[in-house]
């Protein structure tokens, strides 16, 4: 009986904890959105920090990311083409390549890439800022941390994931064309027709929303996880661990939801 009560109590504590974390995250997002719509937010200082964040999150890693996207795309296209040939489904190879790579795999991998590189860094930095009282110092100086530290990171994350996923998608389309038709314009009309058929407004809007949600997940969750850190240095790794687990679950949930909305 004690065991049962303890289990229910533990489950209840966990569920309450999840709701508290979820509420904290959405409340933070709400504050960020309100600030985003406030004209006063958009001064030169905030704009400069946003530019810096986009540079650190996307531009600085562009060559590495494009190399990685190139290898993954080439591998996937080769596998799809060879499988399609084996089953006599060559005419569907273009569509399959676009659907698998451009719509699903590349945005997902982009989000993971940014989460591992920038999300973990954001989580650690915010946690350290909290533990070291740097946020209190900013508050004492009346420098708003949301405007100076957090909002630029959220915007930077969204812009970076959308931009990198778009670039990777364009690269994959080019590679798919070259792999299927080679260095000739012979297949251009058929290829562009397939592309136009797949990328209708609904799919484009869905892709943009998915990438934006990925971008939000890889920045919003690390920021809020960092802010939850108790003021003890040894809790920083725990905060990063929790934050990155939440980011992983959020990315998977967004992908599963997007697949379900598209195909079920």
């Amino acid at each position: 009986m004690n065991f049962l009560a303890a289990s229910i109590e533990s489950l209840g504590a966990k569920v309450t904890g999840w709701f508290t974390v979820g509420y904290g995250m959405f409340a933070f997002l709400g504050r960020a959105l309100v600030l985003l719509l406030d004209r006063a937010t958009w001064n030169r200082a905030t704009f400069d920090v946003v530019i810096k964040q986009v540079y650190f999150t996307a531009v600085q890693i562009l060559h590495v990311f494009l190399g990685y996207a190139l290898v993954i795309s080439w591998l996937m296209i080769s596998i799809i083409l060879s499988t399609a040939r084996d089953f006599g489904l060559t005419e569907f190879a273009t569509e399959m390549t676009i659907r698998v790579l451009v719509l699903e795999l590349l945005p997902f991998l982009t989000a993971l890439f940014i989460a591992l590189r920038s999300g973990s860094a954001i989580n650690t930095e915010v946690a350290l800022m909290r533990v070291n009282n740097e946020l209190d110092a900013l508050a004492h100086c009346k420098v708003p941390p949301m405007q100076f530290e957090f909002l630029p990171r959220l915007i930077g994350g969204v812009v970076s994931v959308v931009a990198l996923a778009s670039l990777a998608g364009l690269l994959a389309l080019l590679l798919a064309y070259l792999s299927i038709y080679g260095l000739t314009m012979a297949g251009f009309e058929a290829f562009t027709r397939t592309v136009a058929k797949i990328f209708d407004f609904r799919i484009m809007a869905g892709l943009a929303v998915k990438c934006a949600l990925f971008g939000l997940a890889v920045t919003l969750i690390p920021v809020t996880a960092g802010l939850e850190t108790p003021k003890k240095l040894f809790m920083v790794p725990v905060s990063v661990l929790r934050g990155m687990m939440r980011v992983f679950f959020a990315i998977v949930a967004i992908e599963v939801l997007s697949l379900a909305l598209k195909y079920i």
């Binding site: 800022m129 009282n133 740097e134 900013l138 009346k142 100076f148």
Partner: protein, 145 residues
Amino acid sequence: MTVFADRDALLAAVETLSDDVARVAIDLPLRANLSALDNVALIPLYQRHFDATESTRQAQAMLDALGHADIAPLRDPDMTPAQRFIAQLARALMLKRPRLVIDRPGAMLYDVSYPDFIRGLAARPEMTGTWEIYDFSWNQALYPQ
């Protein structure tokens, strides 16, 4: 200078300080990933809405006035305790609040004779306003009577 018999009394006094007091204290550190100059420049940038160039110019002028222009490019971990204190002091002075409280200077300036060091800074021609020091009673002997 205001002296306190113990930590609790000092913290209670700090707690009662109003918003128009600028404080230099170990619990109000610099932003670790910004240089000393950028830490000071944050104030004109965000409070008085100057552009980045003008904010940086004002911050550099403040460091010059304190006689430590050389610390401008240094980040927190690269500074000595005295240099870090100068950066924190410059940031507090940049706030342009009517009162400045230096809270437990011994905790920040442990590598110099801090009463002389602070007096030297306060005596600089560009320095104005009232500087107050909050310290423990057992350090009182360090200050000239």
